[in-house]
């Protein structure tokens, strides 16, 4: 469960978001749409604790941003899967290791890591690229690695920031299908996209944001 209460946040000398109220129930799939610079990524950053609300507070699966200490942050993040808009893959290890890394940090056993990573690589259609370095992948392939990394440790919510921006029709449908499948297993999904049409078509809840405010 993710819940925003009157949350405001602004970057130093720059826009941000204002007075956001939002409630995403467990198991829900919502889209966050809006034009470039609207504040979609900022909302996701707030959930991901990359930034903290300057006013208001956020409830995250039992945690409240006003009570969270620095020590809690890693543990909360592990329960959230994030697909970054700029991917943020580690440039110095291959695709397999990039995905495995999300499991290593939470202390999963080696044999289990192997099995799980190969599984997820198959799901995003990149089994044949598992030993490549991220720089040796096309833009769309990198995006799929980023998605795989977010999915791999079965978080309670997945935040996806423009996860299909670099993907062709076919791949986009596949990724969306994968997200739907994961959602059906009970994981909430919050997906930021500038593509209102696509979001609308799925029939899920669509939250529209513009200039840092929720408009519908």
């Amino acid at each position: 469960m993710v819940r925003f209460f009157n949350v405001s946040f602004s970057y130093p000398r720059s826009a941000g978001v204002e007075n956001i109220n939002l409630y995403v129930k467990n198991g829900e799939f919502v889209f966050l749409t809006g034009p470039s610079g609207a504040g979609k990524s900022t909302v996701l950053k707030l959930i991901y604790l990359e930034e903290f609300p300057q006013r208001g507070n956020i409830l995250l699966d039992g945690y409240n941003t006003q009570e969270i200490t620095r020590k809690d942050i890693p543990y909360i993040r592990r329960k959230i899967g994030m697909v970054f808009q700029d991917f943020r893959l580690l440039r110095d290890r291959n695709v397999f290791e990039n995905i495995a890394f999300a499991l290593r940090i939470i202390g999963v056993r080696r044999s289990r890591i192997n099995k799980r990573v190969l599984e997820i690589l198959r799901d995003v259609g990149l089994s044949h690229k598992k030993l490549k370095m991220p720089q040796a992948l096309s833009g769309g392939e990198q995006q799929r690695v980023a998605i795989a990394r977010a999915l791999v440790n079965e978080p309670f919510v997945i935040l996806a920031d423009e996860p299909t921006g670099n993907l062709d029709e076919e791949n986009r449908e596949e990724i969306l299908a994968l997200l739907h499948k994961i959602n059906e297993r009970g994981t909430s999904i919050i997906m930021a996209t500038h593509n209102y049409e696509m979001a609308k078509k799925t029939g899920r809840r669509v939250i529209r944001i513009d200039k840092g405010k929720i408009i519908s």
């Binding site: 890693p74 543990y75 994030m82 943020r88 939470i106």
Partner: protein, 286 residues
């Protein structure tokens, strides 16, 4: 289990950085080399000065009336005095021979008799070469019957002590400077190795890695850098020692302890440097 991960990961870090790892190891090795050269130099200089001190003898001149029998007793008494290490008898005749050899003149030809006295030459134990202790021993000796005079080359002792003081002063200052230089160089090197990975550290934190988890591989990496830098510096030190012995024909002594110390210093600085460097990124907001 998690430490095992850190050990493998620390090693992988080295492989990933490649070129810059060599730069780091060489920098560390050179810093440690400097420390080592200093330590060996200082230690050898110290030994030389100590040896000079040991060579200072105390001379006990006997009255002409003392018989060989008495001399034997005096010798026994001398050996009982605390601080006396060895006692050597130099007869009137020995003294004359020595004099003639040194000055090339026959005094008996001039004076018609041997004006020199029999004496004991006393070597003191190492720690007794200080003015106070020497004074005390001389006092004790003077009280013995049959002893006419006791001499000791105070002037030389003073010179040696002065040099020891200067040596100590320079040694400690230079040592502090070199330790400081190596400290800064090594921790800077490790820091630079980590700066280039700040992007990665940020990603790790975003993925929910705990600070300890992120830090550990870097500590291990620092440890490796210290070890490899240390080994390389030992090599370089051996080369220097070899060159000093063969090219300058100096009698250089090398001590295992110095080697151990150099290695230890490298490892400590490598690990602490990593700790300090990584701390900066872990404290940042996010």
């Amino acid at each position: 289990m998690t430490w095992w991960y850190a050990v493998r990961e620390g090693f992988a870090n080295l492989r990933r950085a490649r070129g810059s790892v060599w730069v780091s190891i060489i920098t560390i090795a050179l810093s440690l080399w400097l420390v080592g050269i200093f330590l060996i130099g200082a230690w050898n200089g110290w030994q030389v000065l100590q040896k000079l001190k040991d060579k200072l003898e105390m001379e006990v001149f006997l009255l002409d009336t003392v018989k060989v029998q008495d001399a034997y007793h005096i010798r026994k008494s001398l050996l009982k005095i605390p601080g006396v290490d060895s006692v050597k008898f130099v007869s009137k005749y020995d003294a004359l021979q020595k004099f003639q050899k040194e000055f090339g003149e026959n005094i008996i030809d001039i004076l018609g008799e041997n004006p020199l006295q029999s004496s004991f030459r006393i070597r003191l134990k190492k720690s007794f070469h200080t003015r106070v202790r020497v004074q005390k021993i001389m006092g004790q000796i003077k009280k013995l019957s049959g002893v006419e005079d006791v001499t000791y080359r105070y002037d030389l002792l003073k010179i040696i002590e002065k040099y020891l003081k200067i040596f100590f002063g320079i040694g400690i200052s230079l040592g502090a400077i070199i330790a400081f230089i190596s400290l800064l160089l090594i921790s800077n090197t490790v820091r630079m190795a980590i700066v280039s990975r700040s992007e990665e550290i940020k990603v790790m934190r975003l993925l929910g890695a705990t600070p300890q988890f992120i830090r550990r591989p870097f500590l291990v990496q620092g440890f490796y850098l210290g070890v490899f830098g240390g080994i390389l510096s030992l090599f370089l030190l051996l080369v220097v020692i070899w060159a000093a012995r063969h090219e300058l024909s100096l009698q250089i002594l090398n001590a295992r302890e110095i080697f151990g110390f150099v290695m230890g210093w490298g490892i400590i600085l490598g690990v602490l440097g990593s700790w300090r460097a990584i701390g900066k990124y872990l404290k940042e907001e996010i």
